[in-house]
Amino acid sequence: MKKRLGSFLLMLAILVAMTSVQARAEKVLNIAGNPNELGVTTFNPIKVELNHDAMTLIYDKFMEWGADGKFYPALAESWTISDDGLTWKMVLKQGVKFHDGSPFNSEVAKWFLEEMKTGPSAYMVGAIDNVEITGPYTITLHLKNPEPNMFFNMAQDFMCIPSMVAYKKYGEEFGIKHVVGSGPYKFESWSPGNELVLVKNADYTWGPSIVDNKGPARIDKIVYKDTKEESTRFLELKTGKIDVVYAVPTMFISKIEEDKSLRIIRMPGDELYHMVMNTQSPPLDNELVRKGIALAVDQESITKNVFANAGKPAFTYLIDSLAESKIDPKDEIHFDLEGAKAALDKAGWTMGKDGIRQDKDGNKLTLKMVAKNESSYRRAAEVIQAQLAKVGVEAKITLMDPSSIRAYYKKGEHQLAIRSYNWENADILEWFLNSKRMGYPNAAMWHDNESDYLMQKAMTRSRSQEEREANFKEYHTYVLNKYVWAPFYLPAKVFAVGSRVVLPKNSRARKFMKIEILDWDLK
């Protein structure tokens, strides 16, 4: 018995030793991924609703989006656009092979663009009327209407190109058990809630122009760990079990920065925190009340105190990297305590003895505020609650899980809602403020004919990028002046990186890691 136990322990020891030896020989990058992406649905780019970061490592796209806002060729080597914006000619990269050995060519490209129309992200290719194969590596896209946004779409993570052969072969199982792309990493295993393992694609030599190393990648293996609890993620980083932490909570930033072996990387964010006001729920149907409340939100203070200055205060409804956000400063919403009080006074809500405003009938200015039951929303809600109290508005907070909160919006019972969105295109305004989407996503219950007209114009009648910009600016300015939202914070994307990671010197990519992984290395 004892002997058996002894030999068992010996074997165990050998095993442990072996794995650790192996680990040393291989370069393995451990990542605590974006907590919002945990329990991601599928790696089938055509059918996916919630995209995982690793998609961009497994698949290639037609284009890459640079930090400079320009679009760089990837699998589309070059393209020409007709003057009316309705015909796109694309030359595809040659010699590209999927992980299953099948080649990438115009046939695959055509199939992909057409197949995209069957999935949830069909709108990405919605403008394409048909795809014409003009050669083994050339295709022509015929558009229904001019769509300057097509560049943006082509560079989106949703436009990952899978192997046609594998896609047809595996059917339902594609994206779950079998993931075949042409990217620098191959899908090895996926254990939901636990980890996702990718291994290097040794045959990769077609890196896009935006990176220096055209392939293959230097890191042999990438492990995404599904660690949810923020303190645990932080500790894993500190103890070296994890090399990269996505979405570092702001309170950990200073703590990580104290540690010389760790680095904090800030990337421009794609997220906007704002407070939605239910424009149909009295007294918020009064524009002056909305204005008073919007002006009472102290963006600078929230940015500094709640988010430790990790990002920037937000004064518009769009992220500041978008051209459409650059509007006349007088139309921006800035904290203005006196202005807020004045607006509320003007609206007929006067300060009561208990510090809460009331109207002439003695109704109190008490509003229901909802927020998702996650740390950052709760914290923002608590601070805004205190800020609103200063102008005599009482907010009663209810925290809810994301599903309940959407159901709640749909019923229209909310008054204030602390929310955020991640989107890098001005068309998000349409998503949230279209009167056809009342309740959710239009939680502001915003119904305004002028607004809808401006939205239509921006969405469908812009022939060029410039025209689109101008239209959206007009639309944006209009809704800003209606105070449907109170924007307050633009988070930066904050990543923490361990000491083993060697980052590229001159990064051109717009996003952290992703295809730039080709330029990464491990010590």
Partner: protein, 294 residues
């Protein structure tokens, strides 16, 4: 036998509770438990006077300050005084614990008593339900219920009550089943008493002792459950400083400003511990058999 007329001889019976409290004096653990609970109740009642600061006044210039003379337990993420919040939090925790357990005892003991007394289908249904709720993880049950009834302290209370009632029902049912066979029940019936009299005047008061004991311990459990629900994002609503909410909000700060999580944790530990000690002692006090040993 010598006097049959002097009515002044009849004095209402002495209260056995006084005797029991005397008995408690010899039980040091029990006294400790009682002191903790008494302290807690006083804190909860006079929280407004004890707390040096407002529980919701934010001072963003004083965020996450370690314990000092001004703030003996430090400040939290919004510069609020942790000590004041714990003091105020005692009110919410006691409220949640006592009301939710009180409700569940009410529901449970009523149904349990009826099931134990009449048996039959009610008993079968009840036993099945109690078995199921008892073996289903209470966190999940409570969470599901909170999702159904909504968020907020009152909803948490309802959810906890609906999660816990079964164990009290089970307990009192067993007691009633046992006591039902006592001869005094039959004796009372032979005097012509109705089921109602027997059940609520004789069986119930005799059966309730272990339930009270269990409820005392249950209050502690409910406080912990509220904290756990808070951790899962379904607890008391801000800025209400329930200990559970403070701890769950504080988890992120464990390595930055540990005082925001450690102190509420300690407060909860002491409180729950107090209730447990007191519950254990109640077992001794309420045991009739011990009374008979002179």
């Amino acid at each position: 036998m010598e006097n049959t007329t002097n009515q002044n001889q009849i004095i209402p019976p002495a209260n056995r509770w006084i005797r029991r409290l005397k008995k408690l004096k010899n039980n040091r653990a029990g006294v400790l438990g009682l002191i903790i609970i008494a302290g807690l109740i006083i804190t909860a009642l006079f929280a407004d006077y004890i707390a040096p600061y407002s529980y919701k006044a934010q001072d963003l210039s004083l965020m996450n300050i370690p314990p000092s003379m001004d703030h003996i337990m430090g400040t939290d993420e919004f510069g609020r005084d942790v000590f004041s919040r714990i003091i105020l939090g005692s009110r919410i925790s006691v409220y949640v614990g006592v009301v939710s357990v009180g409700l569940s005892v009410l529901i449970g003991s009523l149904l349990g008593a009826l099931a134990g007394y009449y048996e039959g289908w009610l008993d079968r249904v009840l036993s099945t339900v109690t078995d199921l709720t008892w073996s289903l993880p209470e966190i999940l049950v409570a969470l599901l219920l909170v999702a159904v009834v909504g968020a907020g302290v009152e909803c948490v209370i309802i959810a906890i009550a609906l999660t816990y009632w079964a164990q009290y029902a089970r307990l009192i049912r067993g007691q009633i089943l046992m006591l039902k066979n006592e001869i005094y029940v039959e004796a009372t019936r032979s005097l012509g008493a109705t089921d109602f009299t027997i059940l609520f005047k004789h069986l119930f008061p005799n059966a309730i002792a272990p339930v009270i004991v269990a409820a005392t311990i249950g209050i502690g459990q409910a406080i912990v459950l509220e904290a756990t629900l808070g951790f899962l994002g379904m607890g008391a609503q801000p800025p209400l400083p329930s200990w559970g909410a403070m701890m769950s909000n504080g988890t992120a700060y464990l390595f930055i400003s540990p005082w925001v999580i450690i102190f509420p944790g300690l407060a909860m530990m002491i409180t729950v511990f107090g209730f447990n000690l007191f519950g254990d002692v109640l077992v001794d006090i309420m045991d009739i058999r011990e009374d008979t040993l002179k």
